[in-house]
Symmetry: C2
Subunit: 255 residues, 2 copies
Amino acid sequence: MSDDISGRGDPRKTLELLWGRAPRASRGPKARLSVADVVKAAIALVDAEGLAALTTRRVAEDLGVSPMSLYTYVPGKPELIDLMLDALMGEIRAPSGATWRERVADVARQNWALVLRHPWMIEVVTHRPVLGPNSIAKYHLELSALEGIGLDDLEMDRALTLVLDYVAGAVRGAARERTVKERTGMTDREWWAQVGPFLAEVFDAERFPIAARVGQVAGEAYGAHDPAGAFAFGLERVLDGLELLVARKSRRPAS
Amino acid sequence: MSDDISGRGDPRKTLELLWGRAPRASRGPKARLSVADVVKAAIALVDAEGLAALTTRRVAEDLGVSPMSLYTYVPGKPELIDLMLDALMGEIRAPSGATWRERVADVARQNWALVLRHPWMIEVVTHRPVLGPNSIAKYHLELSALEGIGLDDLEMDRALTLVLDYVAGAVRGAARERTVKERTGMTDREWWAQVGPFLAEVFDAERFPIAARVGQVAGEAYGAHDPAGAFAFGLERVLDGLELLVARKSRRPAS
DNA sequence: AAAAACTCCGTACGTCGAACGACGAGGAGC
DNA sequence: GCTCCTCGTCGTTCGACGTACGGAGTTTTT
């Protein structure tokens, strides 16, 4: 439990796997599978049934081999998760848009959509950055959205970090909603129906007037939660903040 | 594995525990412990040794009782985690500052510090909001930072969500760094020393010129990573973005 | 004094990641 | 073309986990 952890294995070994530089087998029987096969099966499994379903036994079963055979291809579960993550990074495309603002918004929305396609991605506790080929390509593509608009290299990195951090935070709610609905079969509405009466009984509106007022309005406006709306709102603010920085830089290029 | 999940038990039962409304025992032997004792021990354990160390057996051992005794106080691990989270929410204080901007910055920094004090908080996959007394008090306090500055209730909620989402995303890196250092004993520098040479060998700077340039500059500027600096940068941009919204609202109060 | 309700806990089950070592297939050296 | 060594494959096993079950002991109610 609590060990869906990436970046745990021998860093060197993980990197070799990520870049396909593992020393090849010369002798011995032909391998029935490839590392890519294992990664692909694992991603399919987790997309369909969630991170909790990712077990050595289950992946092996899906591939038609015995559990221990997997250890031939991948040193362990942590390394497998790293490989899965890097594989998914390959889904990010070059940001499109005429202005940098549109391109950065595209970066944000692509990352948002990526996580929604694979909600388990945010559940993984990454201990170290996954330095695989796809991750690096992604970094490159995303930085290109900020190239040539007057920011220096450090600012570009930090601006991108800001956007990605915000997306990561915001998408949690949306991914959670999706996962919960699929996994527990209880919709937000049903949950509130269970919880609401008790909360009303116990909640002291006079102690927390602002929470009571705002919570009520927010709850009524969008049935309990509207992660997509919140993201659209937040992204505009983040972009506004960046725009101010860019404007300031172009006014006084020296500072 | 992958089951550090909050909000999993019977919602009703969890809420009763959170609000201390469980039907009290009248007959039978006196309880040796209280729910609060269990929660406290669990938090101490996890703060010291990480979320992976949170096992029924271990908490029971720390408390000097048998594993199964814990089930007298808490229905199961998911409920325990919810209780732990709500307890920590009590560490948030009323935001201080003369202007709303200072107050919101304080909210952000308090949340940042809270997670750094308990890095495992972000590893927990929350499936539903924890509607405990401390969480609601926290919501109230944080909203108060945005009260009376011209935002309507929906905007207040979304502005707060933006700030908290950003903090949640940004603090990941910092919490990760701390956890990794304590747990694996390998510093970022040592890790890069292991990884760097291989990466240099495999990385194609001509395919990814921007990543190469910016990554190099960013890496040199702060040894590999500077989450605190990135957070300070990002928070200013977020606040700038909010300030623009507030200014727009006060100029045209109707819109 | 008896009954009821509660705390506590020994035992047990199923599941997980992973270690170990036996097996057998097939390329390398002759 | 034969032999040997290398390396995939997998059956078995271990220890740890969450927690279900049911009994023993303790306190309050009747």
